[in-house]
Amino acid sequence: MELKDEIRIQAPRAQVYAALNDPEILRQSIPGCESLQKNSDTEFEATVTSKVGPLTAKLRGAVTLADLDPPAGYTLAGEGKGGPAGFAKVKARVALDDEGATTLLRYEVKAEVGGKLGQLGGAIIDRTARKLAGEFFQQFETLVSVPGAAEEATVAAPTHAPRAASTAAVWYFIAAVALALAAWILLS
């Protein structure tokens, strides 16, 4: 499964930096994300739970960064394991560009999904991945572009309940976790 897109975030790059430095914003942006944890400068862990279709999948994701070329780009490799529900392996290339008052984020994701998640079929995975990518960036942008939202988010209790979605989408949570974490470390 491959996903390629670019998103223009309605905030100056400095503000995007700040938001991407904030694990709480990322946690709130990633659907179903429970925790983000930094283990070393290039290793991160995240946990995403989602009740999707017939499965309750709790995926523990580990992300490793490589080819760091700040601030132009980087690659990241992420892997999420959900036990019997399956697993997802993600490789992504991300690039950020400053465009005056806005920031252009371009990404390419290649994902390999295994176990039961992988068996749900490519059509479902593609469709849901695009949908969730949209949801992630919409939430992210909302939090970033509202003045002061970043500060509020860090103190607000988590309000984002795990949402129902197709099981196949769970891999994307990992991709999103990986993406966000990579951006965070890159820009911090």
Partner: protein, 802 residues
């Protein structure tokens, strides 16, 4: 007066409604899942999501902590408490590298779906929830899913203890020694060097097979008094019993296996001895409680029913006027892990190569097979055992030769067909009886071929592409000990006990375990014909090792050949006793042949007024065994074993007519017609049903079904959305016809039929497609036959032509 003949005419060959069907169509069938024991626990397996990985740890604490969970068993426990699965009773007598393995994975998992642990709980849903709480830590290993890559030097090894992934290799032609085989190879090469026509093609057949409506299941009960009672969805309860005795080391008198009377199909899938049997039996013994496992459709599609998956590099040398000279083949089978008792995956491709030469006369052949172990599920027997890929390859090759020679494929086939039986092929396969040419000519009478060719030419002028395709083949009608002992380490004889009841009813007990073939009806018809009673006056019991004589199982079309013949033999023995006593009672000296059994009476033919009802005479022998002829004792029960000296066969031939739309690659099957040699028929409905089912399966396998693995060994087709089966709307009307020759080696002239029948289907279909597309010069060499692939081939051909 010929009363006996009248009676046998009445029941033999009749389109009797199946005795089984009333209960089955009114929801009163009793399948394994309908059997519930008090206090029964439920098992759910934890299976690997990786195709190849080392197990570095299993944490069962959370699963155990879930209320309702009774036990969680892992491979480490199984390994120390029961023997491995590789026991002699389930090992063929063929020289293969049999992997040793345990009922649950130990140390590493070798395919996506490998059982790692089992959760036992009071409730099935609790067991499912708990299975998700079992945390298995894996360290991924390099995966190999392609057979050729698996055989290449340096490939990741599926079994650590083996030096390479070549599980089995065999040369099927030329002799037993390497010298003889090399000499033969050289001789075959000389034929190719000088042949006028040489055709070489690589044929690929995908991984597909069979999906019984009822998946597998096991229910085990353990008691101090009786030991183990195991209800298993199985085609061979007696073999399962022996395997359980040996692996669990339980004294034989304390193990009883029961295949439920109603099974929703087996088709080969329920013939191997499976790991789940051992795990559930072990759990029942350990916990002292009944434990049941019912396979989900997901598990079924992940683990069983996967066959074919083969490459054949076929070369044919022929004269330019269409005489076949030599056949050379190099087969490569993708076996998966090779971890399935009795067959070990490779026995199917083994037999497929034996049957490679099909019904043609070759001067010489050079046929070799290599079987690769890979990180896929092990091949399981699936109706059309072994020869689906080789039959496709040979029947396609024949058409390609015909096209090269400018001959009608039907004529080329007839010209090279074995003209007279018995016959032994270049691989040593023995064809016992029948008349191939009679069947073939009867098929050809159903189509005016010259008229079709004119229609075809006329249609092309209007941009319509019609084609006709032929295929044929012989298959085993039951498997004789001569072949079954080396191939599966089991006897081939049929076994039956016939017990006459004092009330004039007849009870039949068979050691096989049918899965919907209609044994209760066909056996009833045979017994009714012999004793002159009504088929409803019989009861057939199968599948219970505690009640039936030993039999190798319901496999390889054994019912119509072996089981029915054993029943006949036992009945004949009883008939002789009945007439002996009756003659004594009537005060006459008469042989059995001088009595007629008809309409519930036993009649002395020389004086038909002297008769007794069947019930009177059998009750007298069973209940009043006084004043008997000298040396005779009371009672009416006999067990008989039947075995033919040599393997027996049946034969089929098909043609189909298709129309292909080159714009899309889509095609319509406009006609499907057959001719069959099925020997003498017991029940025409059942025979027709076997043919319909087989041809539909062949079409479904060839066009729709495909087990797909990614390069990482991920199996993507574990539900019926992704593993598509043909539906009624997908298949054509099937025109069946028969040109049978009674089998001289069975007492009733019957043949076992229906098992291998799907194999001719892909050849006939693809031959028709290629005939339709001959203006484009397209030869289909790979299955499945997808319109998208055809379309791409047509487009490429058009590009070449312009």
């Amino acid at each position: 007066m010929d009363i006996t003949v009248q009676d046998s005419k009445r029941w033999m060959g009749a389109r009797l409604e199946r005795k089984e069907d009333l209960r089955l169509v009114t929801g009163q069938g009793k399948y394994l899942a309908d059997i519930v024991l008090p206090g029964m626990l439920h098992a759910v397996f934890v299976r690997s999501e990786y195709a190849h990985a080392r197990i570095t740890g299993i944490d069962v604490a959370a699963a155990r902590a879930l209320p309702g969970v009774v036990d969680v068993i892992t491979g480490d426990e199984i390994r120390t408490r029961v023997k491995s699965m590789r026991q002699p009773v389930v090992l063929p007598n063929l020289p293969a590298k049999y992997p040793d393995y345990h009922a649950l994975a130990v140390d590493k998992v070798k395919f996506h779906g490998d059982p790692v642990a089992v959760v036992i709980a009071r409730d099935k849903y609790v067991a499912e929830d708990a299975a998700e709480l079992v945390v298995v830590d894996y360290e991924e290993l390099p995966v190999v899913v392609d057979a050729e890559q698996a055989l290449a030097p340096g490939a990741p090894r599926v079994h650590d203890e083996e030096a390479d992934n070549e599980m089995f290799a065999m040369t099927f032609t030329g002799g037993a020694t390497a010298d003889e085989q090399m000499r033969n190879e050289a001789e075959v090469q000389r034929i190719f060097d000088t042949a006028e026509v040489v055709v070489s093609n690589r044929f690929r057949v995908h991984r597909t097979g069979i999906t019984p409506m009822e998946p597998r299941g096991v229910l085990c009960d353990w008691s101090l008094a009786d030991g183990l009672t195991a209800w298993i969805t199985t085609q061979r309860p007696h073999i399962d019993r022996l395997a359980l005795i040996d692996i669990l080391e339980i004294p034989g008198e304390r193990v009883r296996v029961i295949a439920p009377r109603d099974q929703g199909g087996g088709f080969g899938v329920k013939a191997p001895f499976y790991r789940e049997n051992v795990v559930i039996a072990y759990a029942a013994r350990k916990l002292g409680k009944p434990v049941r496992w019912i396979e989900t459709r997901y598990e079924s599609l992940m683990n069983v029913g996967q066959e074919r998956d083969q490459i054949n590099d076929v070369e044919i040398a022929a004269t330019k006027d269409g005489r076949l000279l030599a056949l050379r083949n190099r087969g490569i089978a993708n076996n998966g892990t090779g971890q399935t008792g009795v067959y070990w995956g490779f026995v199917m491709p083994f037999l497929g190569q034996v049957e490679m030469p099909n019904v043609y006369t070759w001067e010489k052949g050079d046929i070799k097979l290599r079987v690769a172990t890979t990180n896929k599920a092990c091949l399981t027997p699936s109706r059309a055992f072994g020869h689906f890929p080789t039959r496709f390859a040979i029947e396609r090759s024949i058409d390609i030769v015909a096209r090269r020679c400018g001959l009608e494929p039907a004529d080329l086939r007839r010209r090279n067909m074995v003209p007279k039986l018995p016959y032994t092929t270049i691989t040593g396969e023995y064809f016992d009886s029948g008349d191939f040419l009679k069947v073939w000519d009867s098929l050809l009478r159903q189509i005016d071929l010259p008229a079709f060719r004119r229609e075809q030419v006329a249609a092309r002028a209007h941009g319509r592409y019609l084609g006709i395709g032929f295929a044929c083949g012989a298959e085993l009608s039951g498997v004789a000990s001569e072949l079954l002992v080396p191939m599966e380490n089991q006897p081939g004889y049929g076994a039956a006990t016939v017990r006459v009841d004092p009330r004039g009813k007849v009870l039949i007990f068979g050691g096989d375990a049918p899965g919907g073939q209609g044994h209760e009806t066909t056996v009833a018809q045979v017994v009714a014909s012999i004793f002159g009673i009504d088929p409803s006056d019989t009861l057939v019991t199968t599948g219970d090792t505690g009640a039936t004589p030993f039999g190798a199982g319901t496999i390889g079309a054994r019912a119509g050949s072996y089981f029915v013949s054993a029943v006949h033999k036992a009945c004949a023995e009883l008939k002789e006793k009945i007439t002996h006593v009756l003659a004594h009672d009537l005060g006459v000296r008469a042989t059995t042949e001088e009595f007629a059994f008809t309409n519930g009476d036993v009649i002395y033919l020389r004086d038909p007024s002297r008769r007794k009802t069947f019930r009177e005479i059998v009750e007298r022998i069973i209940m009043f065994p006084v004043n008997l002829p000298e040396g005779e004792v009371g009672g009416l029960e006999a067990t008989a074993f039947f075995e033919a000296a040599k393997p027996m066969i049946c034969f089929n031939a098909d043609f189909c007519i298709v129309e292909v739309r080159p714009e899309t690659g889509e095609f319509t099957i406009k006609r499907w017609a057959t001719s069959e040699d099925v020997g003498n028929v017991i029940n025409q409905n059942i025979v027709d049903g076997q043919m319909h089912g087989a041809i539909v399966q062949g079409l479904s396998n060839a066009i729709f079904e495909e087990f797909i693995y990614t390069d990482e060994g991920q199996q993507l087709t574990a539900d019926f959305e992704h593993y598509k089966l043909a539906t009624a709307a997908d298949v054509p009307d099937i025109e069946l016809s028969y040109a049978s020759t009674p089998c001289p080696h069975t007492p009733l002239g019957t043949r076992g039929i229906g098992e291998g029948r799907p194999s001719s289907v892909p050849g006939a279909l693809c031959n028709a497609i290629c005939d339709a597309l001959s203006p484009f010069g397209i030869e289909v060499t790979e299955l499945p036959l997808r319109p998208s692939t055809l379309w791409a081939q047509i487009r490429d051909a058009q590009a070449r032509q312009h």
